[in-house]
Every structure is written in C-alpha cells, then in structure tokens.
Amino acid sequence: MAEAIAFYTLAVLILGLGVAVITTPKTVHSVVFLVLNFLCVAVLYVVLRAEFLAVIQVLVYAGGIVVLYLFVVMLVNLKRAPEAHEDPRRLARLGLALSGAVLLELAGIVVYSYGRVTPASAPAAAGPLTGAGNTEELGWLLYTDYLIPFEVASVLLLVAMVGAIVLARRES
C-alpha cells in the first residue's frame, strides 16, 4: 500500500516534470524541472531499495551533469529566441505521432504480457535485497565481474574530459 502510494505519487511527478522539461519555453526552467525530475527518480530508486544508486543519481546527475547544463544555458546567452527559425521540411508531427504509437504499443505489450504471468511465477515483490544495504555488494560486482566494463567506463570518462576541454577551449 505504502509502495503504491509512493509509486503513483512519484510516477505522476516524474511524468509531469518530464513533460514540463520538454514543453517549457524557457530553457532555464527546463533545467530546473529536469533537476526535480531526477530527484524524484532518485526517490523512486530508494523505493526500489537502490539507496546507493539514489545517492549517485543525486550526486552525479543532479549535482554534476545538470549543473553543466545550467552553465551552458547561462553561457549560451542568446540575443534572439532559440527556436525562432523553423525548417519547413521537419517532420515533427510525424515523430510525435510515431512516439505516441510506439508508447501505446509497448504499453500494450507490457500489460498484456504481465497480465498473463501468474502471480505464483512472479518473484516476491516485497523484502529488501539484503539487510545491510547493497553498496558493498554493488562494489564487489563492479570490481570483480564487471571490472573491465568499469575500467572502460573510466577511460570513456577520461576521453570525454579531454574532448570537452579541447572542444570548449578558445583557440588563441
């Protein structure tokens, strides 16, 4: 019951803020909504017993990535409205329609499929994964089974850092 309340509240918040992100005319407002959206997602992670990911979500997404967006929004100080020009050939309406269609299809598949799964075969929904929290287990997994992807990810970040510096540096 409590989970249901939490889920529906968060779902409404997440979707509403998501819609706000893509509909708000002001870019800065978009960013703020995005942060709030991410915070809600983080809370959803807590509901899903992924405390570590929730904290990381806040730390990296909200505290890092979105701040970057905010910076860029401030640096990109436009003299005219950002979306003034519109190419007549763009297929926005078609895209919108297709997105809706795909969403409906997917939702149909999901509902249909899960509806056919008998409750007995579904894994127990309740109960935490572990008593002591999953940070340590996640660390073990990351540094043993997923060591190579982890290292690759670190290299990726390094490359991204170098790339960002090179790109953003003013050529003198």
Binding site: T27, L53, V60, V76, H85, L96, A122, A164
Partner: protein, 101 residues
C-alpha cells in the same frame, strides 16, 4: 494495489516516449540534450526495477555505467554545442544543417 514490474515498465516507457518526443519536436539543442537525459533515466528506472524484482544486482551495475556514459555524453555534447555556438551564434537545430548536400 500491488505494484508489479509492469507498472515500472510502463512508467519507464512513458518517460522514454516523453524523451523521444522532446528530441523530435524541440528545436533547442540544449533541450534536446535534456530530453536524451530523460530517455536515459527511463532506461535506468527499468533496470533498477527489474534488478529489484529479479533479485539480480547486474541491473544496478548497468545503471552505474549508464550514468557514466551520460556524464561523458553531456560533457562532450555540451562542449561541441559551445564550440558551435561560438561560431554560429545559435543553438537551433534547424540551423545546424551544413552537413548535407
């Protein structure tokens, strides 16, 4: 009122679709980027939810990787955006069309 993975999947699909729509409809590149972040988060919700219901932490591990990739994407993407903005004074994606015939 039991919350099943289906609920999370549908939530994820919906958030993903919002992201897709944002990417397809908006012309401000920054917002398009943010829409991409929304899509990534939709995927993450899916992964975490299934990690919980399948009692397998691999899903959470992948969320970590997704976050890392998102960070890299944001850094490089926004770097490119800044470089572009410096040259063309615009962030409108419809004006970024010189790579064609």
């Amino acid at each position: 009122m039991e919350i099943t993975p289906a609920h999370y999947t549908v939530l994820s699909a919906a958030l993903f679709s919002i992201g897709v729509i944002g990417v397809l409809v908006r012309r401000n590149v920054i917002i398009i980027f943010m829409a991409i972040e929304l899509m990534l988060n939709a995927v993450n919700i899916n992964l975490v939810a299934h990690a919980r219901y399948l009692e397998n932490l691999a899903g959470q591990v992948f969320v970590v990787f997704v976050i890392a990739v998102a960070a890299a994407e944001a850094a490089v993407g926004l770097g490119i955006l800044l470089a572009f903005f410096r040259n063309k004074e615009t962030v409108n994606i419809d004006e970024m069309n010189i790579m064609r015939w």
